[in-house]
């Protein structure tokens, strides 16, 4: 990678979503701004309080885990900021086409990796990348999932750089979470700012569960009209358990744990009070490692023994397909532009964040020399874990990461800190700017659909660039405008 010019001066100004450079609200925020000005802080405070009460009444919670082993976590009310983030129709058009392109390429890539491996034979990506990847699942090589689709649900993280350009930060293809909060945020926002939904012509997101249900029905081996669908949860201690129950309820399907199911001669059944019921589609919210103790981790009690063999036979569909995680391995990420060009013959519509590979000695030394301005990430971690945030790091922590990287370079990547765009938030009685990102959700059923909106995550601490809810992030409703 070319090292010059990637790190600008230290005084770069983040893009502000709400205000233009002259400190006046951007056009699409005018209506909202006029209203806030007219009603004043007391009205905002009342709305914020109303939102709090509604979240509590709805029981919208998430679980935070500390550092302790065996920590069962603390359940918290979902943090919500009432000032919506607005995305214009032209901005959305670009995001939507970029995401469709990316998801299409990701699925072709997965089909190739678990099939012929043309992309490796053609020398586009190095074999070590795949064969040393923790999530390349040899157990499923040669199995072709229905219609070749692996990632029925993708939650792709998008950020906006200093110039306002939308960049892809991460592809989340395993069990991306957050969609229930996208919907709950909308429910709350409709309640507290109802008049704006018509004035602004905000596009709907509430149909996500029905889109997901339709996509899953389309995978049913017994046909879409005979689809028995189950949401497979690891149980109440999972940080996303709220979402598992939410989606099962919204779709009107069973929520089950591994122990509630059994595979008999390659057919998966749900144990019910009236006997065994055949299962056609499993929306699993557990990782590959735990999915089937017969072929993956034998000590897993969360999965369903024999489910992979049932899947191989085509008797059950698994959403997302096992093995999808290799495509969102952070060490694969830098190759995504090449992967898009290779399978689609197109230039990427949405660019990546520049990324340094720690296996490359020159990249590595450059990163070590500039650690205060870098984010270093462990490639198979998510949720903001296993990460060094250069600007806020201590010398001791930086030293620790140098050792970690040198011990296993394949396991780390680095990116220059991107000053995520900011947005006005209502924080304890004041309007203040906070950094944010966006996780839109992409469903791949009969075709690829991007739900117009997503989960906007906000770093609640002033100046912080970490938006993960597991690390104290908040959220906003995201309005995509129809025109």
């Amino acid at each position: 990678m070319n090292h010059t010019g990637m790190l600008g001066s230290k005084t770069r100004t983040p893009y502000h979503e709400f205000y233009a450079d002259d400190f006046t609200p951007r056009d699409h925020y005018h209506l909202l701004w006029d209203h806030i000005k007219a009603t004043g802080n007391n009205a905002l405070e009342a709305k914020a309080h109303e939102a709090q009460l509604a979240l509590r009444a709805e029981g919208v919670t998430f679980t935070v885990y500390g550092d302790g082993d065996g920590d069962e976590g603390i359940e918290r009310i979902w943090p919500f900021d009432l000032i919506p983030r607005i995305i214009t129709a032209p901005e959305w058009t670009k995001i939507e086409s970029g995401l469709k392109q990316r998801v299409q390429a990701l699925n072709l890539f997965l089909g190739d990796l678990y099939g012929e491996q043309r992309i490796i034979k053609d020398g586009v990506i190095p074999p070590e990348l795949i064969y040393q990847g923790r999530d390349f699942r040899r157990e499923i090589v040669g199995i072709v999932p229905p219609r070749g689709i692996y990632t029925h649900i993708s939650g792709i993280d998008i950020i906006r750089d200093e110039k306002g350009e939308f960049l892809i930060l991460e592809d989340n293809l395993r069990t991306p979470s957050g969609v229930s909060y996208m919907i709950e945020n909308r429910v709350i926002e409709r309640r507290i700012l109802p008049e704006f939904f018509n004035k602004y012509r905000v596009r709907r997101v509430e149909h996500y569960p029905s889109l997901l249900l339709a996509a899953m029905r389309s995978l049913s081996p017994r046909g879409k009209d005979n689809a028995e669908i189950v949401v497979l949860t690891p149980g109440i201690y999972n940080s996303a358990y709220f979402e598992h129950t939410f989606l099962a309820k919204e779709m009107g399907v069973e929520l089950a744990e591994g122990r509630d199911m059994v595979t008999i001669n390659d057919i998966v059944y749900l144990k019910t009070t009236s006997g065994l019921k055949r299962v056609d589609v499993i929306y699993r919210r557990i990782d590959d490692d735990f999915l089937d103790p017969l072929v993956f981790r034998s000590d897993s009690s969360l999965g369903i023994a024999g489910v992979i063999n049932a899947w191989r036979k085509g008797n059950v569909a698994i959403v997302n397909a096992p093995g999808s995680g290799i495509a969102d391995d952070k060490a694969v990420y830098p190759y995504m532009p090449d992967i898009i060009r290779y399978y689609l013959g197109q230039q990427p519509i949405l660019n990546n964040v520049p990324t340094y590979q720690m296996t490359n000695v020159k990249d590595r030394e450059y990163v070590f020399d500039n650690m205060e301005r870098m984010v270093i990430k462990a490639v198979s971690e998510s949720g903001g874990y296993g990460m060094l945030m250069g600007p806020s790091s201590t010398p001791a922590l930086r030293k620790e990461f140098v050792d970690l990287v040198l011990e296993n370079p394949r396991n780390y990547i680095a990116q220059p800190v991107v000053y995520l765009s900011r947005h006005t938030c209502y924080m304890d009685g004041e309007l203040e700017a906070r950094h944010l990102d966006l996780r839109p959700f992409v469903i791949y059923g009969e075709e690829i659909e991007v739900v117009p909106g997503g989960l906007t995550r906000v770093a609640l601490r002033k100046g912080s660039l970490v938006v993960n809810s597991s690390q104290g992030g908040g959220s906003k409703d995201t309005w995509v405008l129809a025109d």
């Binding site: 034979k121 795949i130 064969y131 157990e139 059994v262 390659d266 023994a305 063999n309 191989r312 036979k313």
Partner: protein, 287 residues
């Protein structure tokens, strides 16, 4: 040679277990050196068997026993014919071109990377292995045929360990085996594989059977050896325990990156009891 192989595995539990799923890698493979004349697998309680070919090309037979049971038996019976072959009769690639040949083979078949890159407790990095061994590890002498270096490696590896039945755990650490100086056939094979991989030579683990008439091992169970990819020859078997190239006394069953991939039996069940040590009985008779 013609052999009749019988392989019985008995699992017994102090309390009943249920929803028992088993995968078997027991069916001998068919290739140019061995011909499977018959092969049958039966179980008790009786179960319906299915099969598939796994990533490594092994035939996997699998079944389930759902109702509660405290005993589960699997029984393989197979007749195999093995062919004698001169391991040195192949069109050799000149020593200077062997590395290039291997690179091309790996490029054409990317999955061969697994047999070079894989590291585990039983096939560690050469650095970890070197720490446990006082002398330098053998090297591939590029000016001579790779097969010569591999034969020297086999001789060296077979001298590093004393064969002692039951001396190490199945899938136990190779470094620990080398430190204590004795091991079983798995350890010998893993030691050879570990060094060959450090050379950049694809090497894999083979689980199979060895004619008891020529075996140094006491109780007859499954045997293990290694295979390395030799330019011009293909996969060549190295019985490291006995310091000889595999021959018509060997019947290969399953291959993998290490012993874990090629384990003959794997299972999962529900019940209030821990796993149990299987009782394995193998017989191999010359026909």
């Amino acid at each position: 040679m013609r052999y009749l192989i019988e392989h019985e595995t008995v699992l017994e539990y102090p309390q009943t277990v249920r929803e028992h799923h088993i995968e078997l890698r027991l069916a001998p493979r068919s290739d140019r050196r061995q011909n499977v004349l018959s092969c049958s697998i039966t179980t008790e309680p009786a179960a319906e068997l299915s099969h598939y070919l796994d990533y490594f090309g092994n035939r996997v037979d699998y079944f389930c026993v759902i109702p509660p049971h405290s005993r589960l038996v699997t029984f393989l019976k197979s007749e195999v014919e093995t062919m004698q072959e001169n391991p040195f009769s192949f069109e050799a690639v000149p020593p200077g071109e062997e590395l290039q040949w291997l690179h091309q083979a790996v490029r054409a078949t990317p999955s061969l990377n697994d047999y070079i890159l894989h590291r585990s407790l039983v096939t560690p990095t050469s650095m970890k292995l070197a720490e446990a061994i006082s002398t330098a590890l053998p090297r591939w002498q590029r000016e001579r045929p790779l097969l010569d270096s591999l034969l020297e490696l086999m001789a060296w590896a077979s001298g590093q360990l004393e064969y002692r039945s039951g001396s190490t755990e199945v899938h136990g650490s190779l470094v620990a085996a080398v430190r204590q100086g004795n091991g079983v056939c798995q350890d010998f094979a893993h030691l050879f594989i570990t060094v060959a991989r450090a050379w950049g030579v694809p090497a894999r683990y083979v689980m199979g059977y060895l004619n008891p008439g020529v075996s140094a091992e006491e109780a007859l169970t499954t045997h293990a050896w290694a295979e390395a990819l030799v330019p011009g020859a293909g996969w060549v078997g190295f019985d490291v325990t006995h310091n000889l190239l595999s021959n018509d006394h060997h019947v290969a069953v399953a291959v993998g990156r290490d012993s874990y991939d090629a384990a003959p039996q794997r299972g999962s069940f529900k019940g209030d009891t821990a796993g149990t040590q299987p009782t394995v009985t193998v017989t191999m008779q010359e026909q």
